[in-house]
């Protein structure tokens, strides 16, 4: 019994990490249909900047805010310098540009920071919390809380705020959006800044668990991407559920089947879901009106 509970807690811990990364894909995808493959690098920047600022003597909360602000600025620069000049290019080209940006950011981080693994202190200590014989670290609760909070914020943003609706309108039809007075360029910049900030926040929250280094981005973005696809790309609830589901499948497979097949089973489930529901679990069917 305590074993099952431990697998579940592990799955939720890992799943919350995936969900947090997956949520970062949502905004940029919604406004531009681009899957931003530099999303993992924002997670890396969040962790690395926080660590180096913290080591330089800045208190952890301030260091985290600094990291999020810097990452958001990098997001804006990415849009202004790489995505905007390529306006009008097909989505596939834009995706390739984000891959290039990811390689560039990784190389830059290697030079600006270093090539070592880093970790900063957990926010509420490292004493495990005991739940009926199974344990979870306090930092995992921070990650789960972070994922849920960002999910709520995104949901509110899209459903209740004018800006959120403007972002969706831009995504739907750029020209029509500008005809009703929305500035599509501003909306795109905003979504890049916010996506980068969400990525950096994810980096701040998960680093005490996953550790961080300049090349962390690729691996973490891949799992986040898988989670987002599973739940439905661009849909906040999809990212949250997809991430948790992926984490739970991995943990339960490692526990009951074999740790060798952990990733394989997770990806088979992903493939099966996408085969039956190409838009992901929560994806809307796209209909083109002619």
């Amino acid at each position: 019994m305590s074993e099952l509970l431990q697998y579940l807690l592990s799955g939720v811990t890992v799943g919350a990490v995936y969900a947090l990364v997956a949520l970062g894909f949502t905004l940029i995808y919604n406004v531009s249909d681009v899957v931003n493959f530099a999303q993992g690098e924002f997670v890396m920047l969040g962790g690395m900047i926080t660590f180096f600022a913290w080591r330089a003597g800045i208190p952890l909360p301030l260091a985290a805010i600094l990291a999020i602000v810097v990452a958001a600025s990098v997001g804006v620069l990415l849009n202004k310098l790489a995505i905007e000049p390529a306006r009008g290019a097909p989505v596939a080209s834009l995706v390739v540009i984000t891959i290039g940006a990811s390689i560039f950011l990784r190389g830059a981080a290697q030079l600006v920071f270093d090539k070592q693994l880093h970790r900063f202190a957990s926010f509420s200590g490292d004493d495990p919390i005991d739940i009926f014989g199974a344990t979870i670290l306090p930092q995992s609760l921070w990650v789960i809380a972070g994922a849920v909070a960002i999910f709520m914020l995104l949901r509110l943003f899209f459903a209740r705020t004018l800006t959120g609706k403007a972002v969706l309108a831009t995504a739907n039809n750029r020209m029509a959006a500008s005809l009703v007075g929305i500035n599509p360029g501003y909306m795109t910049t905003l979504s890049f800044a916010a996506s980068a900030a969400i990525g950096a926040l994810a980096g701040v929250l998960v680093t005490p668990i996953t550790l961080t280094s300049y090349d962390l981005g690729v691996a973490i973005a891949l799992k986040g991407f898988a989670a987002a696809m599973l739940g439905g790309m661009g849909i906040p609830i999809g990212a949250l559920v997809g991430g948790l589901l992926l984490g739970l499948i991995e943990a339960l497979t490692a526990g009951y089947v074999s740790s060798v097949y952990k990733d394989a089973v997770a990806f088979v489930v992903l493939l099966a879901v996408l085969f039956a529901m190409p838009q992901g679990l929560f994806g809307r069917k796209t209909m083109d009106r002619v």
Partner: protein, 378 residues
């Protein structure tokens, strides 16, 4: 082809124009950047530092060493290209490098064909087994690390263990090597778990291990962040079974990353980690202290085991050139093969025609983490 010819002519012209005509040319290709940069970076730093030191002290046989250092970024294709350039354009008499097994393997055919002695800095036993005429290496093999660990387990009376290995190249290779030699020690593996190199949580695997009551010790062959996370999870689950890590994480940063849970963890490490703990009579004390002192003075950080491989590689080469009396590849090769009683920072080297590594288990020290620092076992 024409480009290659042009390159050679250019290199020749430059070579003739250069005043340092009589220098002893030594080549190196290490992974200063890229995924293996934690290995290649200290190696490159060490090589540059040691060449400067040797030249400042008058060089070798009255001639200065000229180092041709390339960064292959961990890419076997680049390593191959650089090895070709070192042999054909730079005209080196020996090559050091290949930070990883992959880059080393791609350099080997080039040096064997060109008959240039090559000292690899990578771990795999395949590099020197079977013996290749011109290929040597300085790091001990994974198999030796396994033997050292099993020796310690046997001494403590452990016969039933669990393994949790990384599925990356290092972890998978070491797991295989350990399983090959484990029978010699009468130890059996009750649980054989694995994890991905980027996994964030290994509690399910450790929970499975914990549920097997007979397990007396846990071994974690791995590299990078995996072992640190395994150790943290081991602490989180409150497991009391002794934990062994591999030489892959033998650096001070592992203790920082793994935190309080690393207390009592044992692993095989080299003398360089515990230079200040070595007794005065220890044969390696002098060389290890010399390396540590100059590296720390120059770079402001403690040296790693990997830098030590490069330090030994270049010193072995210089020693061989001195004994050969001339900087001729064939003579250097023969002198290298006859290296006897050479004390390096990695261990004492005794090479022969059948052993191009020359280290034995005495190169490894069994270390235990006590109060956040290394301690020598026994």
């Amino acid at each position: 082809m024409r480009l290659g010819l042009l390159g050679s002519v250019l290199a020749l012209a430059l070579g003739l124009a250069s005043p340092a005509f009589a220098d002893i040319k030594i080549g190196a290709s290490v992974s200063e950047t890229g995924p293996a940069s934690s290995l290649g970076d200290p190696e490159a730093k060490t090589l540059k530092m040691l060449v400067d030191e040797i030249n400042a002290a008058g060089g070798v046989l009255g001639e200065k060493i000229k180092l041709f250092l390339y960064d292959d970024g961990g890419d076997p294709n680049k390593a191959r290209t650089f090895a070709t350039r070192l042999v054909e354009d730079d005209g080196v008499v020996a090559i050091i490098g290949g930070s990883t097994t992959g880059t080393t393997m791609s350099i080997i055919p080039i040096v064997e064909a060109a008959k240039i002695p090559f000292i690899s800095l990578a771990g795999a036993v395949e590099i020197v087994d079977p013996v290749k005429l011109f290929v040597f290496k300085t790091p001990h093999t994974d198999r030796m690390a396994c033997r050292k660990i099993f020796e310690d387990m046997k001494a403590r009376g452990f016969t039933k263990i669990a393994m949790i290995s990384g599925s990356d190249g290092f972890g998978a290779s070491m797991r295989k090597q350990c399983l090959q030699v484990i029978g010699d020690f009468g130890i059996t593996v009750l649980a054989d778990e694995t994890y991905g190199p980027n996994d964030a949580d290994m509690t399910p695997q450790l929970t499975n291990i914990r549920s097997k009551a007979d397990v007396q010790a846990i071994l974690n062959p791995g590299f990078g962040q995996g072992p640190a996370i395994v150790t943290r999870n081991y602490g989180q689950l409150g497991i009391k079974t002794p934990l062994y890590q591999s030489h892959g994480v033998a650096s001070k940063s592992f203790i920082d990353l793994a935190g309080a849970a690393s207390e009592g963890v044992r692993l095989p490490g080299t003398a360089i980690l515990v230079a200040n703990l070595l007794p005065d009579g220890d044969p390696q004390k002098a060389v290890v202290t010399a390396y540590k002192t100059s590296y720390e003075a120059k770079f402001g950080q403690p040296p790693s085991t990997f830098g030590g491989y490069a330090y030994d590689g270049l010193r072995l080469l210089v020693d061989a050139i001195k004994r050969a009396g001339k900087a001729d590849p064939q003579a250097i090769r023969e002198a290298l093969e006859n290296t006897k009683g050479f004390v390096g920072v990695t261990g004492p080297f005794n090479m022969s025609a059948t052993d191009h590594l020359g280290l034995d288990l005495s190169a490894f020290r069994m270390l235990e983490i006590k109060r956040g620092d290394w301690a020598l076992v026994q």
